[in-house]
Each structure stands twice: as structure tokens, then as C-alpha cells.
Symmetry: C5
Subunit: 99 residues, 5 copies
């Protein structure tokens, strides 16, 4: 899974029927050590109710269909966790309640 | 899913029988923040009737076969949505009716 | 799918039994706008009878097994179409009968 | 599979129910020749009880679900081995009991 | 499939039970035109009995499980052929019996 921040949303009216009603969030991948955006973006389906600004991780590829929301649907990136804390080399580089 | 613009078409007569009758669109991936092309291209099958110039997103890998048009066919990239709007950090960087 | 040119062949005697009798072609990916090689290569199985020099596209990943030739075989790249024409922004950047 | 070092952990409370109880480790990929980190990170599920600092390899994509811990769960990266030794060109570049 | 050279081995005692008894080879990807290593490495399972120094190609992703040795096992890279010859633009850039 890759770490990313929710930076926006993508809206679509004309789309594959199987993805009707699913929220599409725009994610910017982050460097875990600095928790800064890398300038690399992906549109992910949301299975956990992530909000703008939150750090998440998402599953890519066929694994992104192994959630209740995305099963058998054409998702290649699904948010599967909202991150509370990232510990690198014994130091919290990110802690949701603190940052 | 990745955001891209429909920039062309690819025509083929001699091809795998399973993909007869499917439209192959040439997509240029875009940077969501600037909505500009990145110079990186992919040929995608079209499941939603996308037109030249439109911003879309597509599903890659096995997920690209989870649409009515591509089921059990050798597609590794299928357009699954025509994008109406992209919101980054609370600002519409793209809005179809405006841009 | 990615566009590429058939630039060579790969020969193997000792191989996984399931891929006996399949032709392995060496492809160089092309930039669709210039139709020039990018220096990035992939070995693909051939499901359509592609010849040296031809522009093709291939399916990668699990989709490369969705052809009559490669079903249930360990292919992660299979040529699924010989390209006749590529149209970018309304101009033929490649047309087989012309180029 | 790719070689990586366990450099940290990722904690999440709100997550896809199917991944409750699984440990998420932060891995930094390594260059096998130097055994140094490359600055490229991935969050992996742990199927073998890897500890901080250990060199491991992980399976990516659908193969990351072929373990007892991750079966049918949305993992796209699962640690499948703790590495004892890496031999490059006949020399041990890494040996767990020595380094 | 990608072309690579067998440059070493990886040894692991504590690992996912499903991959017990399988040989893990370290591969360095090669540029087909020069047959030189690119400095990019992958650990692959061996389904064909490849030896140190040999040029091989491997299947990645789910296709790496379509061999007798790796079926249903967490492999994302499996050697499926030992290469005898590579022909680029009509010239043998590599021939096992000659090089």
C-alpha cells in the first residue's frame, strides 16, 4: 500500500454504471519520512469515509476490489485505511492528534 | 485510476478477435493540478463513449475488465468515467462547463 | 495498452512447458506523437502474427492471458493488435500504408 | 519480489474491516548490491513476523494475497520472507548473523 | 516479460510456508540492445533451473503463478525461460553458445 494525502475530489456524471454512488477522491502520494506530497496523484475510491487533508493508505491493483464498497467494480485504487500515526526509525514522523 | 485527456484514436484491422468492435482511444495522462498533459500516453478501451478532448479517468490492470464492454477481454486500461470537475485543495482546477 | 514496434525475437529452448510453441517478440515501446522508440523494451507473446517492424499494441498483466494463445499461460505481455493508424489531435502521426 | 528493510510502522484505527488485526510495516526498498535504502517506501502487511531493521522481501499485486494472513484481503504488498543472506556475483553482500 | 541476468541468490529460513523449497534468484534486468545490466534488481522464483550468469526472462504479476512450481504461491516474479539468443534488428546481440 502507498501513503497519500486526500487533496481533492473528482466528479463524474457519465460513468460506468458499476461505480455509481462511489466517492472518487484525489490523492497525492507522500514521502513517509517528510510527510510531504511528491507531486504524484491518483484517483481512489473510498471505502472508509476519508476526509480532505487526511493521510491514508490505499490498495492498488486487484486488491483494491477486496472491499465491501468496491467488490467486482472497476477500481484499481481504493482507500483502505485512515492513518493515525507513522513511525520511522522509532520516531513519530506523523501523528494525527498532534500534527 | 489516473486522469487523462482523450487526444486521439488507434485503428487496427488485424487483432485479437475478442476486441473486435471496441473503440481504442489514445489518452495522454494529465497533471491534476495544472490539467496539462504529461507526455505519457496509454491506449484505452472505451466503456463510456468518451470524445476527443474530454478529461476522463481509466481503470488499469485486471480492474479494466470489470465493465460491460471489456469483461473477459484483454484490456489493461478502460475508460470508466468522463470527468465533470476536479477540485484540488478546495479550488476547481477543472470544470467541464467552464473550461 | 501500450504502443510498441516489433524490433526482434527472443529464442529459448529450456522454458516453462506451458509456453512451448509460442513466439516471443522483442518490442520497443514508442512515443505515439513521434512514433520513435523510447529505448524501453519488453518481451511479448504473439497472439496475432505480428511481423518485424510493425507497430502493435500489447496488453500487460493478467489481461495478457485473455487471448486464445495465452490463456492460463505465464504471459504478462501479449500483442493483441497490429496497428494500422494512429491519430493524434486530428492528424495521422502513423499510417501503415503510407509510412 | 523486491528486497526492503523494515524501517517503521503505520497505525490506523478507521480502516477496512477485512484488515483489522493485521500489522502494517513501513518498508524502504534497498539496492541489493549496497544493501542501502533507495528512499522508496511501501506499506506492507506482515505474514512472517518481521522485526524492525530486518531485511525482507515482499510479494506485490495479487500474489500478496496468497498467504494465510492476507487471503481475500485488500493487500497489495505482503512480506513473505525474512532474508538471511544475499549473494551477489559469489560474494555475500548481506549476511544476517554477520552484519 | 523482461530480460534479466541471474546475478545471485537470496536465502531465507523464516518465510511463508507456501514458498518452502523454492529457489530465490536475484536477477539484474538487462538492456536488450547492449545485454548490460541496468542496475535494477528483482528476486524471482525459479521454475526452469536457471544458473548463475544465464540470461533469462521472467513473468511478473499474477502470470508468475501460472507455472507448475509457483501455482497458488505468493510469487510476483518467476523465471519462465532461459534465453538462447536475442535478435535485435536482424543481428544477434546475444547468443548463448557464442557469448
Amino acid at each position: 500500500m502507498l501513503l497519500a494525502r486526500v487533496v481533492g475530489t473528482v466528479v463524474s456524471t457519465r460513468k460506468e454504471p458499476k461505480i455509481e454512488g462511489i466517492k472518487f477522491l484525489l490523492l497525492e502520494k507522500i514521502d513517509p519520512k517528510t510527510v510531504k506530497g511528491t507531486g504524484d496523484y491518483v484517483v481512489a475510491m473510498d471505502g472508509v469515509g476519508a476526509n480532505f487533508g487526511e493521510i491514508v493508505f490505499y490498495a492498488a491493483g486487484s486488491s483494491s476490489r477486496m472491499t465491501a464498497v468496491t467488490q467486482n467494480r472497476p477500481s484499481d485504487a481504493t482507500i483502505t485505511a485512515i492513518v493515525d500515526a507513522i513511525d520511522v526509525e522509532g520516531t513519530y514522523v506523523y501523528h494525527k492528534d498532534r500534527d
